[in-house]
């Protein structure tokens, strides 16, 4: 089975570039040049140097002993939460900022939901001295004030998206509109494995460092790079794609993606796209998305702003359809309890997003020597306000 993108930008039935003509030259330039640029020795050297000395990679693969004891398996956490800026998002922004420079772009735009990708973008723009404009839903700006402040401290302009539902999908629309209106000097750093081809593939490549390191670390620690299970959470799906990337062809490794069920899959307040979504076009690619019978995009819900997206990346839609990855649903409460459990057992406060993957452990049974790898995609500092309210701390 082929899980990779084909020459027309499709993963099976999903992907492509459903974009207005105004974006065509930019997308075409990116498509024609990015593979060549990222294969150059000077790109690789700079990318590797920044990942090591600026981001702090490799991120540890940590055998969580007390968690393992509780669930009766060997559970390893891939510690993306220890990256600079606190999540996996920076792997992608470091790659794209070097790429943008090589493409001769002077101005960077990005969308952000919870603010993690916005912060990771503002960070690399400060590093490179490039102008940075972040689009963020008006509602999210209110919910995520500390991240807005971080972006501003690093010199970014944060523009509220006031259209539609004023959240992540609208911030993405606004960023695309900005790109339409600034077609020559601007590069758009998309934060997830979504958008028109080649974005889903490019972002997965930059995130694939997660599984590349994991395999090496598994060999060092267990002598075998084939775990029994690999788990990650999915909103748009970038940490999951990075975590799954080098395991896709290892058919004996079971890959599990945890989506946000919100208040319950059928509650009307959910972001469980693999169950609730239908095939369609969102933000430039054919994928699964939550929509009405008339094709209007439905606003999703999750307690975790990073999973609060009405679609999934086209490669995820494909991996779901061909059943290479199992997509499961985790409610707000299950994720919150898993956050508390990891904090108490391991002294690690996870992002609520990542806790969706941890919560799946409750629903699985293991043999004692089975090896499980979970992508701990981000740290929970940004979620303290939510934790305080939820647990009345």
């Amino acid at each position: 089975m082929n899980y990779r993108v084909n020459e027309n930008g499709y993963y099976g039935d999903f992907g492509g570039a459903y974009i207005p003509e105004m974006l065509y030259p930019n997308i075409e330039q990116l498509k024609n040049e990015y593979l060549n640029i990222i294969a150059q020795p000077d790109f690789k050297a700079e990318y590797e140097d920044l990942l090591k000395n600026y981001v702090g990679r490799p991120s540890p693969l940590y055998l969580a002993k007390r968690l393992s004891e509780k669930y009766g398996a060997k559970i390893y956490l891939k510690r993306e939460d220890l990256n600079h800026t606190g999540a996996h998002k920076i792997n992608n922004t470091v790659g794209q900022i070097i790429l943008a420079e090589k493409l001769g772009k002077k101005r960077i735009i990005a969308e952000t939901g919870a603010g993690q990708h916005g912060v990771a973008t503002a960070t690399v723009c400060a590093l490179k001295g490039l102008e940075c404009v972040i689009y963020m839903g008006e509602v999210d700006i209110e919910r995520q004030a500390p991240n807005v402040a971080r972006m501003k401290m690093m010199g970014a302009t944060v523009i509220p998206a006031t259209s539609g539902s004023k959240t992540l999908k609208d911030a993405t629309n606004e960023a695309m509109r900005d790109w339409i209106n600034n077609p020559v000097d601007t590069h758009y750093i998309i934060g997830s494995v979504v958008g028109p081809h080649p974005y889903p593939e490019m972002v997965s490549l930059f995130q694939s460092i997660i599984s590349e390191e994991t395999k090496k670390q598994l060999i060092e620690q267990t002598g075998n790079d084939q775990p029994d299970y690999v788990l990650a959470c999915v909103g748009g799906g970038s940490n999951a794609m990075g975590m799954f990337y080098h395991f896709l062809d290892d058919e004996n490794v079971r890959l599990i993606a945890a989506e946000a069920a919100g208040l319950g899959v059928n509650s009307g307040h959910s972001a469980a796209t693999s169950v609730l979504g239908k095939e369609g076009v969102l933000h430039g690619s054919r994928t699964l998305l939550m929509q009405t019978d008339d094709g209007q995009v439905v606003e999703p819900y999750s307690i975790s702003a990073g999973l609060d997206y009405p679609g999934i990346g086209p490669q995820h839609a494909h991996l779901h359809k061909v059943k290479r990855v199992e997509y499961v649903n985790i409610t707000d409460n299950e994720a919150m309890q898993a956050s508390l459990l990891l904090s108490k057992l391991e002294g690690i406060i996870p992002a609520i997003e990542s806790a969706h993957a941890l919560a799946q452990l409750e629903k699985m049974t293991f043999k004692p020597d089975e090896v499980v790898v979970i992508c701990l995609s981000g740290r929970g500092d940004k979620d303290l306000d939510t934790f305080m309210k939820y647990f009345k701390l």
């Binding site: 027309n8 492509g16 570039a17 459903y18 974009i19 207005p20 003509e21 105004m22 065509y24 030259p25 259209s163 539609g164 999908k169 609208d170 629309n173 695309m176 509109r177 339409i180 209106n181 077609p183 020559v184 239908k278 095939e279 369609g280 076009v281 969102l282 933000h283 430039g284 998305l289 929509q291 019978d293 008339d294 094709g295 209007q296 995009v297």
Partner: protein, 257 residues
């Protein structure tokens, strides 16, 4: 030959097209506005079917789309409303909107329903050339619909020629790379772009859109092309007043005179 192709046979200059969003400012407005625009002297019409995430549009058309959806507009309802279209309106009419609602309706069903009510063409800015050619072309052709593609100042000559070869109505020439509702770019660079497109001697007529709001911009665009399209400025006018139908004749007269 559909009505659109007939129009371009007869008329070569100063062709005026008006865009408006179906179901805006009120759900029952669609046909009334179309009738009023024909009476006032528009040459052809583009009726927008609304989408929740219209990323090529500026604030005015975004807002009209959102209001139309809140008013209850759907493709299904729009085709019902358009059943009497040809009893009331004789000028060419196109549908314009985004790919996702059309895909949900089913492209073949959509094309057939459009042809059944007397629609002449379709403009779907985010339906790519590749997918149109490989998957959907026959649905449009079998139903006698002209599919219209956009061209921008950044579009290469080679691609414009390819677009010309796939078009059977007109080419929608964007006045700049921008979302809808901005003011017209009148720089020398843009003049050179129009001249570049003209020099390709294309098969299809050229109609300029985006940034056309009044007589000045319409006349300027008409110098370079066969005509022009007014969208946001019209949508704004009908959205500003309760008595929107009464403002239509004056809106058109001000552009024409």
């Amino acid at each position: 030959m559909n009505r659109l192709q007939q129009l371009f046979e007869k008329k070569k200059n100063n062709i005026l097209s008006i865009y408006f969003t179906a179901g805006y400012p009120e759900i029952g407005a669609t046909l009334k506005i179309a009738e009023a625009l024909e009476k006032a002297g528009a040459d052809f019409l583009e009726i927008g079917f609304p989408y929740s995430d219209p990323l090529a549009d500026g604030p005015i058309i975004q807002n009209s789309s959102q209001v139309a959806i809140e008013n209850g507009m759907t493709l299904k309802l729009l085709f019902q409303q358009l059943k009497d279209l040809r009893a009331k309106v004789s000028i060419p009419v196109l549908l314009m909107g985004y790919a996702n609602p059309m895909l949900q309706y089913g492209v073949a069903n959509f094309c057939k329903a459009a042809a059944d009510v007397g629609i002449d063409g379709v403009i779907v800015p985010d339906l790519p050339l590749y997918e149109y050619e490989e998957i959907y072309k026959n649905d449009f052709i079998d139903n006698g619909l002209s599919n219209v593609f956009l061209v921008t100042p950044q579009t290469s000559n080679e691609r414009i020629k390819k677009i010309d070869g796939l078009s059977n109505g007109f080419i929608y020439l964007l006045s700049s790379s921008a979302t809808t509702g901005k003011s017209l770019d009148v720089s020398d660079e843009i003049g050179a772009y129009y001249d570049r497109v003209k020099s390709l001697n294309l098969e299809n007529p050229l109609i300029i859109g985006f940034g056309i709001s009044d007589k000045n911009s319409f006349m300027r665009a008409s110098k370079y092309a066969n005509g022009a399209i007014v969208g946001s400025a019209f949508v704004k006018t009908i959205g500003d007043t309760k008595d929107y139908l009464s403002h239509i004749p004056e809106f058109i007269r001000k552009i024409r005179d």
